[in-house]
Amino acid sequence: MRLSLGDKILQRTIYILLTLLSVIMLYPFWNSLVISFNQGSDTALGGVTLWPRVFTMENYYIVFQDHRLLNSFWVTILRTLSGTALSLFFTALLSYGMSKKGLLFRKQYMVFFMITMFFSGGLIPSYMLIRSLGMLDTFWVLIIPGIISVYNMIVIRTFFSALPDGLEESAKIDGCSNYGIFFRIVIPVSGPVLATIALFTAVGHWNDWFTGAIYITKDHLLPIQTLLRQIMNSNIMTEIGSSNAIALDHMNRNRTITTKSLTMATMMIATIPIILTYPFLQKYFVKGVLIGSLKE
């Protein structure tokens, strides 16, 4: 089919605009990556944009001397793994129960859950609750409050409801209990939807900084994103220097490190796991969005 002149112009314009968009999408990330590999004192002269001028690994070297950072990494990894596993388990279990038409009070339960999607107590009452539960400054505050996601429950429940009845009937005849059916039949066939929800939850955990910011004051429990935010608002050089002799010695001898270059390196370290898993994320997230937007 031949395109008319107008259509051709439209298409060219779109190609140009989207190319421009791609550059804008990538540049901030690329620029920060470049700065993290560029000598700090040189970056301060300005004009470091697309390529490092004085390539160095020393920013990363110093950052890895910081025990706070490594510790925060651990906190984030632990919360992401345990938080995702617990949340997925309880949410899927709940979804399965809620998908059963014979469940007594099913309608009432559903209303009970739906209300929380439209109205919440807000920040302060939640804070008071966490405080009175004695969860301030504990690891649990990072995973327990968010264990059940009503939205995810609805998505998983929709999927479970769509499973063919015959699948469970035969198991029931064989004398399988509801738990048996859930673990041995329903879970194995629900791989894609559970993987999608798991990834949503995991990325949420990895990126969450606010929970750490309001509920945690102890350094050794801070998730990486919360620590990163503190670092951006403080002087990371003196902080690392005051706690680590090797790093201090290196910084004193070279005088090329700047607060900014260290911050960039820290930022990149916190981003790398996302980038490495991005191909999976992209595949499953696109699926997830489409599952979620299907109206029941």
């Binding site: 968009l21 990126n207 489409l290």
Partner: protein, 308 residues
């Protein structure tokens, strides 16, 4: 016990104890972490103090609300909340629709996939990282934006963008578009893919240009989903943003343009420990939001689209 009065229900209930035991952990979690805080909003009508707790703190009726309405920050906070929300509604909301329409015109699959991959990426980064990018790009000493502006002699002195209140709204909205546009376009792309292709064929036989086809076929076809997202956006009109504003607006100088209801609640509630007052402000916001959502849904029902 009730069991004695209604033996049949109780019997049914105990008979399906295994199903019920799957649901009850969830009910208990949601009760604790969602319903107890909902009950906690009664603090808004008290002069809460930590030693007496919710049960014994004195009641003050609407005093906290009145205090908020009369506070010197009130009009400023409301203005910022509404202006930022409207800016997001007018710019951040349609941007992914536009992107989806453009992506749909791309015949080269490799290019299309590349643009999608690249534009979804920012969605997966935390706001902390994104704010770090913004600080880097806009920084006074070596940020790319100042570097380029100086290079092309558009400015003499580098500008400290994140310390000038007048720039804050534009920066905030641009960064939001940058972070969300790609990912938000997925739903619209899927909706566009569902449009019956014979409609386009018929239109092009009639000599309609691509632009006309987009306007007359694609847009009306995806209108229902646009309306649904519009309802949700209107329900969120008083949620102008939180993490983004908190992280980008760290400089207190920006407050005249950056302070919105949510950041205000955080500041007076958590940082200044005025619990009752902040709860009242939060409750004021929640109630209006629910009302807005219901109203928007009612209006949308006239177009046969509804959330529930």
């Amino acid at each position: 016990m009730k069991a004695a009065e209604k033996p049949s229900i109780w019997k049914q209930f105990t008979k399906q104890w295994d199903l019920q035991s799957m649901v009850w952990p969830g009910i208990i979690f949601v009760f604790i972490f969602s319903y107890i805080p909902m009950y906690g909003v009664v603090m808004a009508f008290q002069q809460y103090d930590i030693f007496n707790g919710i049960l014994k703190s004195p009641w003050v009726e609407f005093m906290n609300f009145k205090m908020f309405f009369q506070a010197p920050e009130f009009w400023n906070v409301m203005r910022n909340t509404i202006v930022i929300s409207l800016l997001k509604l007018v710019i951040t909301f349609p941007a992914p629709i536009l992107l989806a329409l453009m992506l749909n015109e791309i015949g080269n699959m490799a290019f299309k996939r590349f643009v999608q991959t690249v534009s979804y990426l920012p969605y997966f980064l935390s706001w902390v990282i994104v704010s770090g990018f913004v600080f880097t790009l806009l920084s006074v000493d070596n940020g790319t934006v100042n570097y380029l502006l100086e290079r092309f002699h558009l400015i003499q002195e580098p500008i400290n963008f994140l310390a000038v209140p007048e720039y804050f709204w534009s920066i905030l909205v641009s960064v939001n578009v940058w972070k969300e546009v790609g990912f938000a376009s997925i739903v619209y792309l899927a909706a566009i893919a569902g449009v019956d292709p014979t409609m386009y064929e018929a239109a092009s036989i009639d000599g309609a240009s691509r632009f006309k086809q987009i306007y007359l076929i694609t847009l009306p076809s995806i209108a229902p989903i646009i309306i649904i997202f519009m309802i949700l956006a209107i329900g969120n009109l008083l949620s102008a943003g939180f993490e983004d504003i908190l992280l980008l607006g760290t400089n207190p100088i920006l407050r005249e343009n950056s302070d919105v209801i949510d950041t205000y609640v955080y500041r007076v509630g958590i940082l200044n420990a005025r619990f009752s007052y902040a709860t009242a402000v939060g409750l004021f916001k929640s109630v209006i939001s629910v009302l807005l959502l219901i109203t928007a849904n009612k209006i949308a029902r006239r177009a046969d689209v509804s959330l529930w």
